[in-house]
């Protein structure tokens, strides 16, 4: 497809300059209940008659289930039911699955016939308390016949590897190569081809609260009500109803606040299905809440796990022409989201650089591990890391300044279509870089670095410039298939605004549950901006799926942009009615009125005015004062659809627009490496982000720090380690190391604001940025600290043993010289 036949972009907007609430760091309206310990999380919920479920997990990575004896468990005190995987397969259909071939890698809430990873559930007990349920788990006898496990993704793809799913006939769940632009020419004409092999090991979101659900099946009506902290419930509702074999209109999913998610509670359907199945079986409400070991071993939300072979085509002056990426991803035992993680990477695969071609080959390997789900970045953070390591290596090989090499390749004209077809709506990468150089005191640190080196100390500076896509379109999940049979999905988000008789405003949100973001504050600020009220006076309601409006839920940093669009639309409808009412009350022509400070008044005659409360009380109580066709009340809704997404071309040489609102950031950590111990510590850390117009700067800064802390974990500490037999060695916080306050440095943060031309106020999404940048930046910093010793680390996390091994290897290589 050429640029000329692209579908038209949405109209370019002008943004109002004098904002009152949008752009202010106000106290979050969500917080008082959490500060008082009254969060109302799923574990806080009790319902009369509620029972508790606990799941028996497989100790084997790969084994045939030859038999399960539950007789003793069933007779144990307080036990109401024991359901084995075989029985569960009768009660429920497979779980919602977007994998390439679900019939051949079928995923169920409990394992049937064989277990495929350590931690996979084999049976569930329902009892009067969690204590009694766990007692009974210990009485279940499972006869396992162990099978050889396959743990390494590349070995999994070799002939003769043990098969994770016999029906699939191989461990390759998916393979495809895409070419965008003239790859052959760019590589043929390149002065230098930089190559590398890189390895990113798996970590995960690991919010401090696990996933859970309280389900209540009513046999009288056939209706199932599920309270859960799993997000995106309006999206998965239909699919969970299918799994439960009930009509979708008999399933009501209601959100409760989630104690963190970072992707890992998106679409977490298994706990709801287990609780629902148990409740239907025993006829009472049932809570299933994962404990930490359940969550670490069996959450279905481990993060990316990739091997990369990459080539970068570069000219001697530093111009990057193209990139050729060959990646094998270890998906674990199932593949619920298909290779959507790579769709995500393709949204910003070239980073901020104006290269002209991309080759992308992905192979999805199945292994005996817990499966992948979502983790902040959804696979694009891995691409950022890979690309920045390559760019950094190019700078070293060409002996160019790494900052200048990056700057030389910046995209400067917007909107810009990258080779894959996605658009970058706006940006100013030079401005962000300049700000970061200043904020980080880059020049001073280069001098410090040189001084330290004379003393034998290894200081490294890790400047990276990378992208932060926002507002995804679901095409990234299906453009992999030539005949997906789907047009672009509209992925709406909805808001209802209600003005009561006193002028008080209540906003109802659909599917956008709370997980540590601030949907209430953000919507309250946007409403306050429209209606000139105090955001803390706006009431927010979360609607369950029943009686809900079309909605999709969070993911891919879409919430703020989508809810802003919905608030704007609902406001327009309400103001139109209020204007007409005010005109009637003031006996004026609507054209002569203007909205000023929370009411309508006659232009130039401010005393001739009706406040929103004046109008609302009339519309609520005195409808007969108005024309026949006006109804009582002042309430309206807006279903806001994805504002900018287009179809991929039939031949997939252009994937269309699927992640249009492109943020950008520059991170500059300064680290010191201890050569003796292999430990890495921070001397400074600066981060500049551009996520368009800010709504609540302090909230965004909080996400940047928090995301960076997670990125530090990914870069240095966190890993789900499976040994050669598939045993999970890190199944508690004792060995899966989440950074504490001592590992996370103080960040210097600055924002740059390049508004999006296509969204309300120019907002872009920005919740994932910290983690999308930090691993890349820290790896570059460590390599910068050790380059003079010939050390280059190409594997994350950079644990002390990995780093020591790299240092030793370089030492012996030098010794040989």
């Amino acid at each position: 497809m050429t640029t000329t036949d692209r579908p038209a972009a949405p109209p370019v907007r002008t943004h109002k300059e004098d904002r009152t609430w949008v752009g202010r760091s106000i106290r979050r309206v969500e917080d008082p209940k959490f500060l008082r310990g009254r969060g109302g999380y799923i574990g806080d919920m009790t319902v009369p008659g509620m029972l508790y479920a606990a799941v028996l997990r497989s100790p084997h990575a790969h084994a045939v289930i030859a038999g399960i004896d539950v007789v003793e468990a069933l007779a144990a005190p307080g036990v109401h039911a024991v359901i084995t995987g075989e029985q569960a397969a009768e009660l429920c259909d497979p779980l919602p699955d977007f994998g390439p071939n679900p019939a051949a890698h079928t995923w169920r809430c409990l394992a049937v016939d064989k277990v495929r990873y350590v931690g996979e559930g084999v049976a569930v007990v329902v009892a009067d308390s969690r204590y009694l349920a766990e007692d009974a788990l210990a009485l279940i006898e499972v006869e396992y016949e162990p099978l050889p496990a396959v743990v390494d993704p590349e070995r999994a793809l070799e002939d003769g590897a043990p098969l994770v799913h016999d029906d699939l006939g191989s461990n390759c769940a998916y393979e495809r190569t895409f070419d965008f632009g003239d790859v052959e020419r760019d590589f043929a004409e390149a002065d230098v081809i930089v190559t590398d092999r890189l390895r990113w090991h798996r970590s995960g979101g690991q919010p401090l609260e696990t996933v859970g659900a309280v389900a209540d099946f009513d046999h009288a009506t056939g209706a199932l009500t599920v309270h859960t902290n799993s997000l995106s419930f309006t999206s998965y509702l239909f699919m969970v109803a299918g799994t439960m074999k009930i009509p979708a209109n008999k399933l009501d999913i209601r959100p409760v606040p989630a104690g963190g998610s970072f992707g890992s509670k998106l679409f977490a359907t298994k706990p709801a299905v287990i609780a629902g199945m148990c409740s239907r079986q025993v006829g009472r409400p049932v809570q299933y809440l994962e404990d930490r070991v359940d969550n670490m071993s069996n959450c279905d939300h481990h993060g990316s796990d990739r091997v990369y072979d990459v080539r970068l085509a570069v000219m001697r002056d530093g111009t990057i022409r193209g990139v050729d990426i060959d990646t094998v991803e270890d998906y674990g035992a199932y593949i619920q989201f298909g290779v959507g993680h790579h769709g995500n990477a393709l949204a910003q695969v070239v980073g901020p650089y104006a290269m002209t071609s991309v080759r992308y080959r992905v192979r999805a390997a199945l292994t005996n591990k817990n499966q992948q789900g979502a983790y902040r970045g959804f696979g694009s953070e891995v691409n950022n890391w890979m690309l920045e390591q390559m760019v950094d290596k190019a700078a070293r090989e060409l002996d160019l300044d790494p900052v200048e090499l990056r700057r030389r390749n910046f995209i400067r004209e917007f909107p810009h279509f990258i080779p894959t077809g996605n658009v970058y709506d706006s940006g100013d990468y030079d401005a962000v870089l300049d700000k970061a150089l200043e904020l980080s005191e880059y020049k001073r640190w280069r001098i410090e670095q040189a001084k330290a080196r004379e003393e034998g100390r290894c200081i490294g500076i890790g400047l990276i410039t990378a992208q932060e896509r926002s507002v995804f379109s679901a095409t990234e999940f299906w453009f992999w298939f030539d005949e997906p049979g789907a047009p672009v999905t509209s992925m709406p988000e909805s808001v209802t605004l209600k003005v009561d008789a006193t002028g008080g405003i209540t906003a109802t949100l659909y599917s956008c549950a709370f997980w540590g973001n601030s949907p209430e504050t953000m919507v309250a600020q946007l409403v306050a901006e429209e209606f000139d009220c105090d955001p803390h006076d706006v009431s927010i309601v979360y609607q369950g799926s029943k009686n809900g409006l079309p909605a999709t839920g969070p993911g891919g940093s879409r919430t703020t942009v989508m809810l802003a669009g919905a608030v704007e639309g609902a406001t327009a409808k309400i103001k139109a009615k209020a204007l007409r009412a005010a005109a009637h009350l003031l006996e004026a022509n609507p054209d002569d009125l203007e909205w000023v400070d929370g009411g309508y008044q006659v232009k130039g005659v401010p005393e001739q005015r009706k406040s929103l409360a004046d109008i609302a009380v009339m519309l609520h109580l005195f409808k007969h004062s108005f024309p026949e066709d006006m109804e009582s009340g002042l309430e309206d809704s807006k279903v806001f659809d994805h504002p900018y997404t287009t179809m991929p071309s039939a031949d997939r040489t252009d994937l269309g627009v699927f992640y249009p609102f492109m943020g950008h950031a520059c991170h500059v950590p300064v680290v010191e490496v201890d050569l003796e111990t292999g430990s890495v510590s921070f001397l400074a850390y600066a981060a500049v982000h551009d996520c368009g117009t800010l709504v609540n700067p302090r909230s965004l800064a909080g996400h940047i720090v928090g995301g960076t802390a997670q990125g530090i974990g990914t870069a240095l500490y966190e890993e789900f380690v499976y040994d050669d037999d598939g045993q999970l060695l890190t199944s508690s916080f004792l060995d899966y190391l989440i950074p504490s306050a001592m590992e996370v440095p103080e960040l210097r943060i600055a924002h740059h604001e390049t508004p999006s031309p296509y969204t309300l106020h120019g907002i872009k999404g920005g919740g994932e940025g910290g983690r999308m940048m930090a691993p890349a930046a820290i790896n570059v910093a460590v390599n910068d600290a050790l380059a003079h010793l010939g050390v280059r680390v190409t594997e994350l996390p950079i644990t002390p043993d990995r780093l020591r091994a790299a240092i030793r290897a370089a030492e012996s290589a030098r010794g040989r010289e």
């Binding site: 008082p32 500060l35 008082r36 930490r292 973001n517 800064a701 720090v705 989440i738």
Partner: protein, 167 residues
């Protein structure tokens, strides 16, 4: 299983509960006493979301049996605010956005409470080191540190005013 009578004074109110010896303090607080502020993040003593004060010192209520604290004075997050008025720590956590999802917050507040009560003139470095006992997966600790320092300064000077404007 045999049950034991345990008498606890929680946030100034004394209650007696009958519990199995294996019942964890956090479960007694949450289930028997209806105080769901202490959270369960790991149940193996690492994360600190279950932190409460026992006779003024922070403990992990997930690795403490209720029978071990018979007769003790326990303080939980529910005891921090004075009616409608938030404790300075709560107020500063709110002002500085020292929380995102709120799940670590009760434990973090109680640990912070111990820190500032023990050392009113605590330094920023000491606050960081002190709260390293508790994990937070959302905030990266910086704004928590801001909040604890601000609250400590406020409590030290006896002022009830919020310390400052936001970033």
């Amino acid at each position: 299983m045999q049950r034991h009578e345990v008498t606890l004074t929680v946030n100034g109110r004394t209650s007696t509960v009958s519990v199995e010896p294996r019942k964890l303090l956090v479960d007694v607080l949450r289930e028997d006493l209806g105080l769901s502020g202490a959270h369960i993040g790991c149940e193996h003593g690492v994360c600190g979301t279950c932190t409460v004060l026992r006779d003024g010192r922070s403990i992990r209520s997930c690795t403490t049996f209720a029978v071990q604290v018979d007769g003790a004075e326990i303080r939980t997050v529910e005891g921090l605010a004075d009616g409608a008025e938030l404790h300075p720590l709560q107020d500063e956590f709110w002002d500085k956005q020292g929380l995102q999802c709120g799940f670590c917050t009760p434990g973090m507040l109680m640990r912070a409470c111990e820190i500032v009560e023990q050392k009113p003139d605590v330094s920023r470095e000491e606050v960081r080191e002190g709260i390293a006992s508790n994990l937070c997966r959302c905030t990266g600790y910086q704004f928590i540190t801001d909040a604890v320092c601000a609250a400590a300064a406020r409590m030290h000077s006896g002022s009830s005013e919020t310390s400052g404007a936001q970033a």
